[in-house]
Structures are given as C-alpha cells and as structure tokens.
C-alpha cells in the first residue's frame, strides 16, 4: 500500500525557521505502525527527519505526536487505520508545547506542571511500625490513573491549555488525583486548596479531548471531576466553579429543570457582581428577541417534581 506521509517539519537552525509540511511516499505493510513508517523514512529517504522514540511498545510514552490532528502514540497507531481514502497520513508534533525540531517537543513545561502538584506520597501522623496499609479496593481504584505513562497526549490536545498556558493541565491533575485519592496520603486538603486556585482544577473546560486521546485510558477529565467533587466535599473556599455545581444541583432539586438566569445570578452572587453586570448587555439584547427564560417564581417545576426529589434525599441519606 503506497501511503503519503505529510509531515510537519521545523528546524530552528535554518533560515527562515518557519514550520512547513513535507510529503514522503512509502510502500507500507498492513501491520506497520506510524512509528515504523517514520523510522523507515528516516533510514531510507531523509536522515534529517527528527523524532523521539524508545520502547516501540506503548510503554515509554516517548513517541507521542499528532496523527491526523489528534495526539497519539505513533508506535500504537496503525498506518492502515489512519490513512485517508487518498492514502494520506498527516503527522505533526504535539500541540501546547514548544517544538524543538520536527516531531520533537520540549517537555520541560509538562514536567514542571507535574512537579507543581507534588507527585509524591505525604503521609500524616506517626509512621507505622510495618508498612502503610491500604485496602485492595482503594488501590484498585487507583490502578487506572497509575497507568499514566506521561506521554503528554492529553496535554497536547487540551482545549483549556490552548487558550491559557497557566492551566496546570490534565496530566498533572490526574497525577494529583492519584495522591488525593490514596488513603495513605495525609495532604488531601492542602492539595485540594492548591488546586482550587486559578489555573487549577476549575479551569478544565470538560471537553473530553484528554479522555479520547489517552493511550492508557487514564481518563484525566473524569479524575478532574472527582477532584472537584472532593473539593466541594471538604469545603474548599467557594469559587465560581464550585458554586456553579452547588447551585445547579440545588436548582434541579427544586424544579427538576434548569432556571438559567437564577443559575447565573446565584453562581456569581454579590461577590462577583461586576461579572454579572458584564452579562447585562447580552441579556438585554436577548430580552428584545424574547430569549430570556422565565426565572424564580415564574419558572415552573416539572410535573411530579416531589417524586424526583425523593431520589435526591435517598442519595443524601447514603452519604
């Protein structure tokens, strides 16, 4: 099968040092991975092509790159699956990090953010005479997140990082969850307090890109949602994010469906009155077009809301 590899090239030492696409045609086998093909290109067609790889078995996380627009491990991605009808595969370096050369990115920022969440166990209290004990159930729960190979795929495709590089990002937050949820760790509250700050757990936009691209099914966004839930449980200082979730739940409990104006008003509250005020021009324009929904006493509950409320109460009794 003749496949065209459209590879994004970049060499800072040449002038002009702008990225460009270069195409290579290669006869590929149905069993070939994208990494096999890239190595073949480097060995037979263009020795200047630069990439990073090591284990070739989806263990080391070195060969993460964007294949047809989404981050993936090149060693785990089959050419045959990715080739378009015209037999083209596009390969680019990871996004949301500086490119050193061709498909090699600078991971320093990635590691700094992982270090920022203090990825080590911080037990509290007196050291036990034997080992620290943890139930099998609690450790089994953590095996998914411990499977992270730090390849950076989730960070590459993170929509929140794309618009704000201060966001700590999905890989670091998943790592933070690994320790927050570890029963042997004693620093849960201080970890959650740190993650409650701007750039922390509330800045995720819940786009699920990190879930989709993770080669190890770590499910970073689900871990971020669990961090938020734990933050609310331990009563970290209220942020717009936490209030939004709390008010949302309360409104559903009361009416069964969403009272949108009330959600905005109560989420921002008096403390963020200026934010609420900033929405006023939009609200007025929507009002003129008959788009402002009924609110408060004018917003009707779903029929039989009392029955639905009993489910909320049953859930609360279980906590």
């Amino acid at each position: 099968m003749i496949t065209t590899f459209r590879i994004r090239r970049f060499n800072p030492e040449t002038s002009p040092s702008r990225p460009y696409f270069q195409e290579y045609k290669l006869d590929t086998d149905r069993a070939d991975t994208v990494l096999d093909a890239l190595i073949h290109i480097r060995e037979t067609l263009d020795e200047s092509l630069t990439l990073r790889c090591s284990c070739r078995g989806a263990i080391c996380g070195s060969c993460s790159m964007r294949i047809n627009g989404h981050a993936a491990l090149a060693c785990k991605t089959k050419v045959q699956v990715m080739a378009s009808e015209r037999g083209v595969v596009q390969v680019e370096p990871m996004n949301n990090m500086p490119v050193i050369k061709d498909l090699v990115t600078d991971m320093a920022g990635f590691w700094n953010k992982v270090r920022q969440v203090q990825p080590w166990l911080q037990p509290a209290g007196q050291e036990p005479e034997g080992e620290y004990l943890a139930s099998s159930e609690s450790m089994n729960h953590l095996t998914g997140v411990m499977g992270c190979i730090m390849c950076g795929a989730c960070v590459s495709d993170c929509a929140a990082l794309e618009v704000d590089e201060r966001f700590v990002g999905p890989a670091a937050l998943a790592k933070a969850y690994r320790f927050v949820a570890d029963p042997r760790d004693g620093a849960g509250r201080s970890r959650l307090l740190a993650l409650n700050e701007p750039g922390g757990m509330w800045d995720c936009t819940r786009c699920m890109e990190c879930i989709e691209v993770c080669p190890k099914s770590v499910g970073a966004m689900d871990r971020i949602m669990s961090l938020r839930s734990r933050g609310i449980q331990v009563d970290v200082p209220s942020t717009c994010g936490a209030r939004h979730a709390e008010v949302f739940a309360d409104l559903i409990y009361r009416k069964g469906r969403l009272d949108e104006p009330m959600l905005a008003a109560r989420t921002f509250g008096l403390r963020n009155f200026s934010r609420l005020l900033s929405l006023l021009p939009m609200v007025l324009r929507a009002f003129v077009r008959g788009k402002v929904p009924k609110s408060g006493p004018f917003h009707r509950a779903i029929p039989g809301v009392e029955k639905m409320r009993r489910l909320f109460q049953r859930m609360e009794e279980r906590l």
Binding site: D164, D203, T205, R228, C240, F248, R257, L258, A286, I302
Partner: protein, 295 residues
C-alpha cells in the same frame, strides 16, 4: 417513527428558537414525538461535578420512563445526548452498578432494564431518513451558502459511549447532512473543539478566547455561517460573540445556526417560523445572500 422527545432545558430556555425550529420541521420528516414532560435535567455534566452517581440516578429515571412507554429517546441537545449516552454506557456495562441505581429508583417505583436507546435528532436524520429521505424533502437547495460544521464536544467524545464503532458516520454526521441540503461544507480544525461554554461562569476570559478562536478560524476558512447541533454551543458562540470580538479586538460577525433551522429553510419554510430573527448575531445578511437562490 415515534420517539420520547427530550428537548432539554436550554432549548426551552435560553435557546427557544431551537425548540421552535424542531417543532416546525419534525412533522414533515415522518417523525412522531411524545414530549417527556416529567423527565428531569440530565445534569449537563455540572451536577456530575458534585455527585456523578446522583446524575446517573436522574438519567436512569428518564431512561426508565421512556422504557415504560416503550419508546426510544430523541434529544435535540448535544450536551444532553452526551451526558445521557455516558450515563447509559456506565449503567448498561456494569450490572452491579445498574442494580445499585435501580435500588434507589425503587423509591419512585421505577426500574431501568437497560434497553432504552438515546439518539440525537442529527443521528435520526442520518440513520433513519438518510441521504434519500433528506434529499427528497429539499425544496430550496442552499447551494450558495458556505457553511462550517461545529460539533462541540458532546457529539464527538467519548466516542466509545457515543456508539461510533457501530455507527462510524456519526463522526461526520453534520457534514453529510449539510451536503445533502446542498450547502458547500467548509472544513476547519476547530469543528470538534470546545466552544468554551462550560468555562463561561468559571473563567470568562478563556471562554471568550475559545469563542473568538473558532469563529474567526471558520471565517478565515471562508464560512458564511457556523452550524451547530448544540444549544449550549449556540449560547456561547452566538450570545457571547460580540463580547469575544471586543475582548480579542477582532471583527467576527459570523451567524451561528441550529441544524434544524437550516433543514427547515431547505425544506422551503419561512425564516421567521424557524426563529431566525431571534439570534443575537443577525442572520439577515445570509438570508439576503440566499434571496436570489431562494426566490
């Protein structure tokens, strides 16, 4: 084809023109809808931040109500579809979990057996009407319009819960349907990215950056309009577009359409009946452009 119709909160709240346009088009598509008036909000992924199991219980309640009526569910909101698909995936792949949820549902005398199918209006157009069913209803092919699809997140990810394996065309449903309506489909990288709506109350600046980024990207690729199957994406991309333009000091002015509006127009309906005058970014320029083609 009869469905239990789950419109979602926003299509009857901040985005009423979506509900309005669906009400206009569905009888002409051979669909029969029975609105689920007693169903609750899905939680939209926000309630789940506080308590995911509570969200699954409420959604299982909705699925059980549809199951009792013997009907599949039709949604018109990508977020509702995504949240319900994820909940249904968890419930139907984990029998002990389903049993635990049913134990709570028994409070209301309900049981969910795991048989309810949940499909977005877009998927019903794709899988039930198909190319032939849609093309034969088109009275005004919208050939002069260049339109870019904007899926947002919930109709794309996670693909496992959305049934992409069994129905691979779902990944390109908008492009297919838009082409059947005669439109020139504009491809652009932002079509499956996040609109920024979930960040609107948490980090407004970042949310507006996303609005500006995707609308400008689509415009630079030559789109006259952006078409979305999600009312939450619409709220942000249409409602907050002028704020995003101010923040990023850019001229955007890109109308955002709901897919049923496009469908209705192609089927020969009047723009006003489809709620096209209710957008914050005016649709008039596009309608003028279509004027010669539509006349």
């Amino acid at each position: 084809m009869k469905f239990a119709f789950f419109p979602g909160c926003v299509s009857k709240g901040g985005c009423p023109e979506l509900y309005q346009s669906v009400m206009e088009v569905y009888p002409q598509l051979g669909l029969e809808l029975e609105e689920m008036t007693t169903a609750s909000c899905t939680g939209a992924g926000v309630l789940q931040e506080k308590d995911r199991k509570l969200g699954d219980v409420l959604n299982a309640r909705t699925f059980a109500l549809a199951e009792q009526a013997g009907l599949p569910i039709m949604t018109i909101c990508s977020t509702c579809q995504g949240v319900m698909s994820q909940a249904n995936h968890r419930l139907t792949t984990d029998p002990p979990y389903l049993a635990a949820v049913n134990e709570i549902l028994s409070e209301e005398g309900l049981t969910y057996r795991g048989t309810t199918r949940i499909r977005h209006f877009v998927w019903i157009l794709l899988e039930e009407l198909g190319e032939r069913g849609i093309r034969q209803r088109v009275r005004r092919p919208l050939t002069e319009l260049r339109a870019a699809p904007f899926y947002g997140c919930y109709l794309q990810r996670p693909s496992e819960a959305l049934g992409f394996q069994e129905q691979p065309d779902r990944a390109k449903s908008l492009e297919l349907i838009m082409s059947w309506l005669g439109l020139e489909v504009v491809d652009f990288p932002g079509k499956t990215r996040c609109c920024g709506f979930p960040l609107l109350t948490i980090n407004g600046k970042n949310s507006l950056r996303m609005v500006a980024s995707h609308t400008l990207d689509a415009k630079h690729h030559g789109a006259d309009i952006l078409v979305t199957p999600c009312p939450l994406c619409h709220l942000n991309l249409d409602g907050m577009q002028s704020s995003a333009a101010r923040q990023q000091q850019a001229d955007i002015d890109l109308p955002i359409w709901h897919l049923p509006q496009l469908l209705g127009l192609a089927m020969g309906m009047e723009p006003k009946r489809l709620g096209l005058s209710r957008h914050l970014v005016s649709t008039q320029g596009v309608l003028d452009k279509l004027g010669s083609a539509v006349a």
